[in-house]
């Protein structure tokens, strides 16, 4: 066979589906979005003694009667599968009934299936071992026991796939309905009748292999006594969330600085040296390369350590089984916002850095919930914005700087809640919170190999998906600053005031007048802040052609800004200063955040989010100034 046989991996959440996928495909995998959705699928090549199979790891689901966009993707993938496609249905030996129900639905859709029996070691520990050959004899499809931890059974599984492909869709003891008789237009009563038939079949199959469960204590019970009980579970959860925040900030800070220093140091001098060798140094080309392209690539690279560590931490939480407990512990708090309890973690990470926070939304199994959380994350005040608040607060409220900075964080939390309600009342009215009823997987040690591969795949997705936009935008920003619009300067050697960038800032300044900030220096700093919030202050200094402040005694910059703002605010610098801080919090996500939103949710949502930020930022800053002026 020359073409690769398509194989779908189907299973309940947390039954070892992705671990099986990783074992089969190794490093030969990549992610794609399911057609017309923001649901990510991982595809890979499985090299077997019987040829190469193209494997797709579908999102985990309990049923093909879809209740979320991600479950729809599973149903669509199976219903629309190419001829010759075989479904590997992962059956959890600790609760086979649930998986057998899904198997029956898959076969009823017309997809030939094999069973990969996992977790039999765990079932054995509970004296509950499932006999693969007895199960196969009962249900009439090949059953292969797979130990993903020791890589046992994969060749037998490949053989079974071919066997199933030859036999076609069939289950012993279940008359199959004609394909297409289900779903579309089916009433709830019909669905219930249809599922009742499947349940009956599952009940008989389970009874035949003596898999009717007896209630037993498990090794996970004592751990859950600690991690789920309110008095201990909530403090432990808060500690875990705090630890994630620390990973996004303090732990990765030295790595981020190291990467940036590497690009601004050795890489930049290397680039200059190369240009010198070809005699093209010193001109605009060097500026374009060093301050445009290399800065851009360095910015993308600086996110790699944060993303890798956040993915590692989330990967451990997921693989160990703790992530499912987070959904339970944080359920009450987040359900009031219509969100999954797990949304707490990305939002917490957001207060460190919005970019890994967006990437972290993948811990939630519902695409609409990921979108809602992803639109709220830029309202969490990241640590880059904190550095700007501190300078501005020292400028305008030298005696109450701490209070001003604290108020902005309160505002940030209020905005997350308020914008969440606003979005759910308007464009995201379909975001539903399912009542919580979730399988709690047994606690397990994460597999380092699987974890490493998924970290590498996901970091590469970011570099490939968001990287080019970040580099292109930084090059564009450099060009705007390098092109003179007056004064007859050479390209690449232009005072800010005479550049295209300065002219743009002058054009924006009138928009800032209602908030007492109608000045081009201030506008220019906000434009630069789009690239990365932390450069706002440096850009402000650059526009005045003074040094950025380094200590607490008032520097030239502080005096110049105060002068400007006193004038633009008509004698109310404090009110305008606070409006400036509000603006820094709200006016736009940074470039990397916007690029990541584009990657995860598409241009339309990322563009809409930017518009929402600009409008809301303008309104809130204007309100802050107009009210503050009266106080």
């Amino acid at each position: 066979m020359t073409t690769e046989r398509p194989v779908l991996i189907i299973g309940n959440p947390n039954v070892g589906k992705s671990t099986l996928f990783n074992t089969l495909t190794g490093a030969r995998q990549h992610t794609v979005n399911a057609p017309g959705t923001t649901v990510e699928l991982v595809k890979g090549t499985w090299v077997t003694p019987h040829g190469r199979f193209e494997v797709t790891d579908l999102p985990g689901t309990y049923s093909l009667i879809a209740r979320s966009p991600d479950e729809c993707v599973v149903d669509d993938a199976i219903a629309g599968a190419a001829p010759g496609t075989v479904g590997i249905v992962v059956v959890d030996a600790t609760s086979p009934s649930r998986s057998l129900y899904l198997l029956a639905q898959v076969v009823e859709e017309g997809c030939p299936a094999v069973v990969a029996l996992t977790m039999n070691d765990l079932a054995e520990a509970h004296h509950h071992r499932v006999d693969a050959s007895a199960l196969s004899a009962t249900i009439g499809v090949p059953v292969v026991e797979v130990d993903t931890r020791r890589r046992h059974g994969t060749d037998a599984l490949a053989e079974a796939v071919l066997e199933a492909a030859a036999a076609g869709p069939a289950l012993k003891g279940l008359a199959l309905k004609a394909k297409g008789s289900g779903d579309g237009g089916e009433s709830l009563d019909d669905t219930l009748t249809r599922t009742e038939r499947l349940f009956e079949w599952v009940r008989e199959a389970a009874a035949a292999i003596e898999a009717v469960p007896r209630t037993r204590r498990t090794l996970s019970d004592p751990i859950d006594r600690l991690l789920l009980a309110p008095w201990t579970g909530i403090p432990i959860f808060l500690a875990v969330a705090w630890a994630l925040f620390e990973v996004a900030t303090r732990v990765t800070a030295p790595l981020v600085h190291g990467v940036m220093a590497f690009f601004s140091g050795p890489v930049s001098s290397g680039g200059s040296w190369l240009l010198e060798r070809v005699g093209a140094d010193g001109g605009w080309l060097e500026g374009l390369l060093v301050d445009g392209v290399i800065l851009g690539v360095g910015t993308v690279a600086s996110f790699i350590p944060i993303l890798a560590l956040i993915f590692a931490a989330l990967g451990v939480l997921e693989a160990s089984g703790y992530m499912a407990r987070v959904a339970v512990v944080a359920d009450r708090v987040m359900s009031s916002m219509g969100l999954d309890g797990r949304a707490v973690l990305p939002l917490m990470v957001g207060f460190g850095c919005n970019v890994p926070a967006l990437a972290a939304t993948r811990v939630m199994p519902d695409a609409r919930q990921r979108l809602l959380t992803g639109l709220l994350i830029p309202f969490t005040s990241c640590s880059a914005r904190l550095t700007v608040y501190i300078v501005l607060a020292e400028m305008f409220f030298p005696d109450h700087a701490g209070t001003a900075v604290f108020l902005l964080h309160v505002l940030s939390v209020v905005l997350v809640v308020a914008v969440g309600l606003l979005l759910r009342g308007t464009v995201l009215r379909d975001v539903r919170r399912e009542p919580l009823a979730m399988i709690m997987p047994a606690y397990q040690w994460p597999l380092p190999g699987v974890l490493t591969r998924s970290i590498l795949t996901r970091v590469w997705d970011f570099v490939r998906g968001a990287g080019p936009i970040i580099v292109a935008a930084l090059v564009a920003l450099w060009l705007a600053a390098a092109v003179p619009v007056r004064g007859g300067h050479a390209i690449g050697d232009v005072p800010v005031e005479d550049s295209l960038y300065g002219a743009g800032a002058r054009g924006i300044a009138p928009v800032l007048e209602p908030m007492g900030l109608g000045d081009w220096h201030l506008a220019a700093s906000l434009v630069s802040g789009l690239a990365a919030k932390e450069v706002t202050v440096a850009a402000l200094a650059q526009s005045y052609a003074v040094e950025a402040p380094t200590g607490s005694p008032p520097t030239a910059l502080v005096e110049r800004v105060r002068e400007t703002v006193t004038e633009t605010s008509g004698g109310h610098p404090a009110a305008a200063g606070f409006a400036f801080m509000v603006l820094v919090l709200v006016y736009a996500p940074c470039l990397a955040t916007a690029a990541e939103q584009r990657r995860l949710f598409g241009w339309r949502w990322a563009g809409g989010a930017l518009a929402m930020h600009l409008v809301l930022g303008w309104l809130l800053a204007t309100l802050a100034f107009q009210v503050g002026r009266l106080l």
Partner: protein, 74 residues
Amino acid sequence: MLLIDLTPGVDARVTGVRASGGDSLRLTEIGLRPGEKVRVVQRAGLGGRLIALGCGRIAVDAGTARRIEVEEIP
């Protein structure tokens, strides 16, 4: 009686699920079907319950635990 009122550690049998159509279907799909034997392992989070179904564990929120009818097995 309702699942929420079941004392942890006591065995019971599911007799009915009072949720609306779709929600009730999902509960039966994950295994909470009339006739199944369940036991509350512990109270979880703020008002939720951790339920044992064989050696599997299912967490439900308080609202869901109020919709599942059970009878104690003597």
